[in-house]
Each structure stands twice: as structure tokens, then as C-alpha cells.
Symmetry: C2
Subunit: 313 residues, 2 copies
């Protein structure tokens, strides 16, 4: 079951219903505690991911646990961050259950690949700007079937979303530029999407956003990354205080805890949005703490007409 990006409000109704009737919950991240708490009738909860200094369970052990719980006839909810089948090992777990003949349902979740950009005001697909969305697992897992053909990804262009690729981003950017993407292609990094400490940093392939952001980080590469919609029209909800530590205090790959409820914080610096960036945007930053350079003017043009897009704001 997909748990969405973190905010319990982004759980599906089906997910909440199933959590409430679960006997056992298996989940990955200590930061999911608020969501796991919805399962108030669960007798057992297993955190099988990395927790503090304890490493994550080997995937084979997780698979085996799920098969055993299923065979025992327990009502099990297997919570995965985002959607269980996007850059996640949910597919492997489903394969293991299928191979063992254990019945299961699949409940889709809100994937950060789409939602993190959306919550940062970035539509991953806009007819006039991007009609393809390529989602890529950016880390270098030795069990990957094949290495990503970054030349071809660059040629496809459109919107490219990189998940789990924080440490590899510099290398990925170099490969995309070698494949033909312009050095000034906009890049947005969204940290902790949907959580109170959500923040966005902007840059380009040549001048990447600060990689020292609190995980999880979703990277958006392509012209849509410059469509900074929420900066022009701030969200109607109030930002809330956050207990988030500075990003630099969080080590790469470490999952931080924190409060989930509430709207993501957004900088309300009155930026004007008129279209895609005509040139190279300044490396920029929005989000918790107001550390960003507010007031960046985003000016430029779309190649095709977008109604209302060139109107004065």
C-alpha cells in the first residue's frame, strides 16, 4: 500500500480504511509513525527499514516476513512511502507473495515523483512545455537490471524526475549535458514534500541546487522546473512552524522524523511568473526558514500559447 509522500492527508481513503482494520503493519521508516498510528487496532507493527543505527532488513527477510504473515492469515498492511511500485521494492514483495500464492491487494499511493513537484508549484506535464515525464531511480543499486541510458533520457527531454539520486546528482547532470541538454536547463530540488519542513531549491544543470537538503529529495529537471507557480500565487493555507533541523545536520540517506500534518511552507516573496526562464536562473531557494532570495523575477516565454500565461500578474 502506498502511504504517499508523508502528510497523512495524502493517504487515500482506502488506505485509511485498511489501516484501521489492520492486525499487522509492516513499514519502512520511523518517520511514518504518524501514519502507522492510524492503525489503532494493530497488534503488531514491524519497522523493517533503517531506524537509527539499526540497518534496514535485507529484502529477502522482508519478503519472507510478508509471506509468513500472509500464510498465517493475518490482515497485514504493508506500508511503502509514496507508491509501492515507483522506485521501491514493493514490486519485489508483490512478486514474492505471488510466487508463494499469498493473496494480496494493491492500493496505489501518491508518488513523490509527481506530488513533490506539484506541491512545489511545478506541473510535471504541461502540453506546451513537456509531454513526457521520465521517472528515474538515480542511485546506483547493484541489483539494477540495466544502467540508465542517460544519452537517450537527454534526447527524450521533457520532464525528468530523479528519485533517490541525491548523491549521484552531479554525475547525472554531467551525463545529461553530455547527452545534449542545455547547461541552463532548470533543476528544482524538493525536500520533504508535503511535510511542514518542505522546501524547494532551484538551479540549473550547470549550477545544481544545494544537495545538502533534508531527505527525501525529489529532483525535477526540465523547463517545468522554472514554472514557479506557487510563488506568484501563494497557497491559501498558512505555513506552520516546524521543528526541522537545518538540512546540513541530516546525513545523506538518513530519514529524519518530524511532524507531518499541515501545509508545506512556501516562500511568498511575490515573484512574478510569466513563463519559462529565458536564461539561466539564479540558484535559488524557497521554503522553511525564509533563507531564499525572495523576489526573483521569473520572466520568459513559452514556445506555444498558454492562455493567461502572458497576462500581467
Amino acid at each position: 500500500m502506498g502511504a504517499g509522500p508523508g502528510d497523512p492527508g495524502l493517504l487515500t481513503c482506502r488506505a485509511v480504511e485498511l489501516l484501521k482494520s489492520a492486525e499487522v503493519v509492516v513499514y519502512d521508516r520511523p518517520s511514518m509513525a504518524d501514519i502507522v498510528a492510524i492503525a489503532d487496532s494493530a497488534e503488531v507493527v514491524h519497522c523493517v527499514g533503517k531506524a537509527g543505527s539499526r540497518p534496514a532488513w535485507p529484502q529477502a527477510d522482508v519478503n519472507q516476513l510478508l509471506v509468513e504473515l500472509g500464510r498465517a492469515g493475518r490482515e497485514v498492511v504493508r506500508l511503502k512511502a509514496g507508491d509501492a511500485f515507483v522506485v521501491s521494492r514493493g514490486g519485489e514483495e508483490a512478486v514474492a507473495l505471488a510466487a508463494a500464492g499469498v493473496p494480496f491487494d494493491v492500493v496505489p499511493g501518491i508518488s513523490a515523483a509527481i506530488a513533490a513537484p506539484a506541491l512545489a508549484g511545478i506541473p510535471v506535464m504541461v502540453r506546451q512545455v513537456a509531454t513526457t515525464l521520465t521517472v528515474i531511480a538515480g542511485n546506483d543499486d547493484p541489483e539494477y537490471h540495466q544502467h540508465v541510458d542517460w544519452d537517450a533520457v537527454a534526447r527524450v527531454g521533457g520532464t525528468i524526475v530523479v528519485l533517490t539520486g541525491r548523491s549521484a546528482l552531479r554525475d547525472i547532470a554531467a551525463k545529461l549535458m553530455a547527452g545534449g541538454l542545455a547547461a541552463d536547463t532548470p533543476v528544482a530540488a524538493i525536500s520533504a514534500a508535503s511535510r511542514p519542513h518542505q522546501r524547494t531549491e532551484l538551479g540549473t544543470l550547470a549550477k545544481l541546487p544545494n544537495p545538502r537538503m533534508r531527505p527525501p529529495v525529489t529532483f525535477v529537471i526540465g523547463e517545468v522546473a522554472a514554472l514557479d507557480l506557487l510563488a506568484a500565487a501563494p497557497p491559501t493555507t498558512e505555513p506552520k512552524a516546524t521543528d526541522a533541523p537545518p538540512a546540513a545536520q541530516v546525513a545523506d540517506g538518513q530519514e529524519a522524523g518530524g511532524q507531518f500534518a499541515g501545509a508545506p511552507e512556501q516562500d511568498m516573496g511575490g515573484q512574478a511568473v510569466r513563463g519559462r526562464l529565458a536564461g539561466e536562473p539564479a540558484a535559488n531557494e524557497r521554503g522553511a526558514g525564509g533563507l531564499g532570495e525572495a523576489g526573483r523575477a521569473v520572466d520568459g516565454q513559452l514556445s506555444g500559447p498558454v492562455e493567461g500565461f502572458n497576462a500581467h500578474s
Copy 2:
């Protein structure tokens, strides 16, 4: 706001909450009526999409309506199928609102691009099989910024999901094969995902699934399309009766009404899942009405190890 693929159970909690307090709802499809009905305090609902013989509103008019409603200070929910920013004009509407200085929030929804495959038992990403997911708007909208580089998409490989591309599928398949994808690359077509009349048909690039399925149809191209997990381990929920007309009675592009609630129907033909298809799968069909050839054996191997995947089922 994304309304998900159709089943109200796949709305987010936030979406339900906002619907319940909405004064005005603007939506696209008559088939969303069950979801619109959640907005029981709404004074006005606008269906701006195609309804019966009435054509859809021009996009500029929809944008203008939203701007006017926003300026009037109404609590407006703009419902979009799936996610508002995936193969949808939600991005343009957000751009129009931003340009007009009208505040708005973005509520992500479950996109059919990921959920339709998941509900059909197809994980779009599995480390050992596919580490990229390319989502493509398959129709030939003249306002598209650029034409899709299908050669490059073929080179990226992995999982390719085509939305709104039913009428163009044959042409797309030819381009992908010309770009290097094997003729026996599995293709799954999922119709009406999450609705009681959901059905899946299987084929290959050379022998496409029957295109005369009830819309909306999501196409999955790539090895994962043969990972027919739910066939081996049937879902725990009972299939329900459907009032769906035969697919052949539904014209291309026409949105059919119907009941949303309940689990998708699944064929329980006892198929064995052991891995990806080693050869070309028979064009096959699963779903409502039991018209499919049950008992297809899915045999083969993964290039990398997947725990439990090669176990006997």
C-alpha cells in the same frame, strides 16, 4: 485537485475534506458524478468537459471561469481525473491562476499512469526489470510543444506508459519497434482502472492488445507488463457485478458513465507467475465478463535475482 482514477476510495483524505467544504466544484467528466456528490454543500457544479453530445469547453473559457470564481472569493474545487499535472490541462489552469494572482493550493491525486498498472498487478518499476518509467501523452494535440522522440524513448526502454494514446497506439508501436524495441516487448492495456468494469488485455508491440476497450485506457509497454502478479495471487476482495456495456459499443474518446465503488474485477484463472516472459505472450485478455483465455502460463526468468520470484507457486 487530482480525483484519482475513478474509485472514490482512491481520493486522498485532503481531497474529501476539501470537497465537503467546497462552494463550487468544476469538473470534467460526467463519470465523476459519484465523486462530485461528495461535495454536498456545493451550491454550484460546473461540468466543463464533454458531456453527451455537448463538446468540452475551450480551455481558455475554463481558465477564465476559474479566475473569475477565484476573484469572487469562492471556495472552488477544480477536480481533474488522476493527477491534475499528468497529461491534463491542470498545469495550464494553474498558470492562468498564477498569472491572475489568484491564490490556489495543489492537491496531488493518484495518477492512472502508475495506478492503472498497479491495479492490474503490474509494478511499473522493479529494480531488476525496469528502473525508468516514461509517461507519455500519446495523442496528437496540435498545441504540443514538441513531438515525442520515439527513437529516444525506445532507447531509454524500461517501462513506457502511454496515456490518451488509444487511437495512436499502432503508430506508436511501429515507432518504438523502429527505435529498437523488440517486437515481442509485452504490452498491457488497462481499461477503466479502479472501476468495477476494469479490464486488462495483454499483447506485444507486434500483436497489440485489442484497442476497442472502454476508455480511459492506460497502456504499459515493457517487460513489467508481463508481470501478471494478481493473476497468480488473486485479490482478496470479491469482484462485483458490472453494468458496463461491451467495450465495442463505446466509441473512441467517449467517456462512459458507470459505478465506481468496489474492487476491480480480476480473472482468477490460476496463472503461474515465475518471471518475465521468455518469448512472445499470446494476445490475451482478463477482466469483466471472463472473456479472457485463462490459464496462460507466464514463465521465464529475470536477468537479476528477485527473492522468491523463482519459487514454485
